[in-house]
Subunit: 345 residues, 2 copies
DNA sequence: GTGAAAGCGCTAACAC
DNA sequence: GTGTTAGCGCTTTCAC
């Protein structure tokens, strides 16, 4: 009874019809701009809606036309600095198409994802934008069985039926590693994101490919598995340091791990970039606020969010039927943490 | 027709009733745990829902019971580092009560706020959590006329009818300023947030009160009006520097302005905290990643978001009828930018 | 305890 | 063009 309380009167299409002395069908027609209606009645109806402050009830409309004009957005955690820009891109695009976006944080738990999918389904959302936590086809299959359009954000799933938007992670990692090599680094440590995520795995392979193409032996003692978190970046470097294994650079699979890494280096009195050069991935806002300014691979996160909704809406409307994969091109942002723009040898 | 496509069959309560050989009323009763029903029928119905993978249609339910189990969350911008934690608090609390949260970014524009309020109303949300951009009673009045429960986030409105949750901004600003004074600072510049916001105005008054209680003359040449943005913090200091007016500390009304301020100081070769001590407000995550670590006033942002939903739900259910104002107590986080923990004179 | 039926507010045939 | 009416999927009287 939330919106029916107090002295507030819930105005329905019936009230408008009565006031304008027409049928409810006519009111509906006029408000939806379908069919032709006489200007005379249109005017009367419009006046009545104003006078009564009528706001159509979208719940009833949704039930009738089987279209809720809302979409679900499932992400791991809005507090992770990667996501705000993505979410904003999604919301801005959704707004243009008049969709409400329902935000869901899963903390990367498959079980939570499943719950939210069912929750969103019971709300009969028209589509879901989904940043999966693990490359787990179960939830994608669930979505598929529910028959609800999906677009995967920042993830790729083998042979998936859903559309997806992502950045070329392999290329980005290749560029980052290449950049370090070109600065004369040879012992480049790598902090991976979760290899279960496509983004994690692809970045790892980009790193290896770059080494290969410069004839540098891949050394697994220099490779660490992180979890895309500050703490895991810090821990990786601490382990590396304790191993006393030599290294002159670090490529971290995302910016917060890179920052965690630098923090740890600093803690041990190692200077960045003088002693060790560091490159991150994502180009979150913090990358340009942190000291040293972080050299990183930029992903157009906001645009990815926007594009995802563009695709999703196309699927919802039926404009597009087969899955499409949009892959954005990453960009190397050279800043202080890798030694800046000046040449080195 | 989004969820009715392909080979997917939309299962309704009718299908379940048929399969379990009972009436739809019985199915409804069992699923909602109202009334008493015979265990026999209950079992049959539950089995049928499993077999058919029935998921109740919340849209229909919402129409019938006039309760959409969704709430709107209106904020200026999720990309502003203050908001992710707030949003997360809101969402986590909403989840517990089984509400969907619809996210809306207004960029602080009154007109956008109004549009979103109407949008949310047409969706018949059960309540709205609202971080107003300007102390504009119009939108609050609109909300009120729609009869929809509201709780104001991080804002206070004079004589408002809505509940609100905020931090004691005056006290926080007082603590920040006092801290600087106790470190021997006397010429403390102040960068205000928008004075049109309660948070902005209250922090300004806390700053002034602290000066007063230490018999330091308030000097308006040291006071600048910012906009809670990085750029405005930077610009304020640049103006201050150009004025060649003496100062030995800065209290900025939020952390990103403080960081903007420090960036500008650095740009001009001024060291923090050696030459100028700086204190911020909010304690966003960045405050502990930035160098120097930022001394700041901590607001329990996540908890504020949670509490807001607690209040909102109480209003929705009718458990609470008159507005309540929850004010959290701020906490001084002493870090490097003000000179750290060591004493100074 | 259970079923029949009304009705939430809307759209879309279908008649006229 | 416009009105009448069925019905979207559910909850809830009201009978029995």
């Amino acid at each position: 009874m939330a919106y029916d309380k107090g002295n507030f009167r819930n105005v329905t299409i019936k009230d408008v019809a009565k006031r304008a002395e027409v049928s409810i069908a006519t009111v509906s027609r006029i408000l939806n701009g379908k069919d032709r209606v006489s200007p005379l009645l249109a005017e009367r109806v419009l006046l009545a809606t104003k006078e009564l402050q009528y706001q159509p009830n979208d719940v009833a409309r949704a039930l009738k036309i089987k279209e809720s004009r809302s979409i679900g957005l499932i992400i791991p955690d809005i507090e992770n600095p990667f996501f705000p820009a993505l979410v904003r891109g999604v919301q801005d695009a959704a707004k243009i198409h008049n969709y409400a976006v329902i935000l869901c944080n899963t903390d990367g738990k498959t079980e939570e994802e499943k719950k939210y999918i069912q929750f969103l389904y019971s709300k009969r959302v028209d589509g879901i934008a989904f940043t999966e936590s693990v490359d787990n086809k179960k939830n994608i299959a669930l979505l598929d069985s529910l028959g609800i359009p999906v677009v995967l954000l920042d993830r790729r799933v083998e042979g998936m039926k859903a559309s997806g938007v992502s950045t070329d992670n392999r290329l980005g990692a290749f560029m980052a590693t290449k950049h370090l090599i070109e600065r004369g680094k040879r012992r480049i440590a790598f902090i991976s994101g979760s290899p279960k995520l496509s983004s994690g795995a692809e970045r790892a392979s980009g790193y290896q490919d770059a080494l290969l193409s410069y004839n540098i032996q891949y050394d697994k003692k220099l490779a660490f598995i992180g979890a895309f978190t500050y703490e895991s970046g810090y821990a990786a470097v601490e382990n590396l340091l304790l191993s006393r294994y030599q290294f002159d650079a670090i490529f971290a699979s995302n910016d917060i791990m890179a920052i965690g890494a630098i923090e740890c280096l600093n803690q041990y009195g190692i200077r960045v970039p003088e002693d060790v050069a560091v490159v991150g991935f994502d180009d979150i806002r913090l990358a340009t606020w942190y000291k040293p300014l972080l050299t990183t691979i930029r992903q157009p996160v906001y645009e990815m969010g926007q594009y995802a909704i563009k695709l999703l809406v196309e699927h919802i409307t039926g404009e597009r039927s087969s899955p499409y994969e949009k892959i954005f091109v990453p960009e190397l942002m050279i800043r202080q943490s890798s030694g800046g723009l000046e040449e080195s040898k």
